[in-house]
Symmetry: D2
Subunit: 112 residues, 4 copies
């Protein structure tokens, strides 16, 4: 894991958008829409792959580049949306894991 930190990257994304005057476009609604579009572009890489091919996706350099690129796009919009809504992503995730630990007891189960 790199020693980059999430707050610094979130700051760079804000500066990047401000330098291009994207404020009026970056409503929470539009950022949520863009996040969903990027998540679909990530899914698209996998849509015709068998489960086995999908497990091996990173052995294809072109697909590996696209996976990294789309993971970055999803993360970028997630951080921008969270910033616009005042949500601390890691805190929200920690709380969700705690709720899930109560909802789903350990042991074999189908995920939901």
């Amino acid at each position: 894991m790199s020693d980059l930190d999430i707050a610094t990257l979130q700051r760079r994304l804000i500066d990047f958008a401000e330098a291009r005057e994207w404020g009026p476009y970056h409503t929470p609604k539009n950022l949520a829409m863009a996040l969903s579009v990027e998540a679909s572009e990530l899914a698209e890489i996998f849509q015709w792959l068998t489960p086995e091919e999908s497990a091996d996706v990173m052995s294809d350099p072109d697909k590996a580049f696209r996976v990294r690129d789309e993971v970055a796009d999803v993360m970028a919009y997630l951080l921008q949306l969270a910033g616009a809504c005042g949500v601390d992503v890691l805190q929200a995730l920690a709380e969700k894991i705690e709720r899930n630990e109560m909802r789903f007891p350990p042991g074999p189960a189908k995920p939901r």
Copy 2:
């Protein structure tokens, strides 16, 4: 910003899935699909809101809870997918910001 760190949360997600024996379900393809579904659930909160209402979404306690909850779900699947593919999310994002700084010169422009 909380002092939680992303590697610790990623580890907790792995442990959580292992304790429930979700390994066979968590192919990169299925995780990408689940990520896209969660991103749409986040978008759904905003779908009938005006831009102004969307900017004010966190003033409604019920919607604010849903936003935090779905942001957490998107982050959870993004980290699990990235882990399954050996992608360092923050590194990928830093590289993408650098590519974007070359592609989009600063100054007013419509986002793409």
Copy 3:
């Protein structure tokens, strides 16, 4: 195939929305967002299924109901969006098939 026709159903959807005064909500942007959300709800039914289980999805009455229900929701928003944009869905599809017949020569190939 039923003898229902698409124009009649499109008309019923318009009447339904008008009776509830949904006009201001039903911008093309919001309808496109709602369509995408419904398509994800349809995908969600399949997200943890193996290819084999997905081929057999309709043998489970609960899943079969959900598939029919979400197919209907996708169709409803597609017809409403197309109506709002003045697009004839069947005409657009016929033209797209013709373009695809030129782009993809017959013979074994991976879909894109």
Copy 4:
């Protein structure tokens, strides 16, 4: 509305896929994933538009072409998925409208 009919177009889509030997790729799961991806590509056209710009989307010839093209793609995958699951799209929609007429009494209300 054109005098094309849905059953004929559904037949052409089947023939098209068979001629390219896409059967193994066209599981219900993969078709649902592809449908969701295409619905997001349609949403992407609208993501940075204001409500007013979205209402006027068809006055831009490039965007108008993309809207028609993506509407066709969504319809194509919806018909293929419905065919693979034995669902009659128009019948499913008619039944859903009837359920909605019972769930949502006429009169002003926010859509859900």
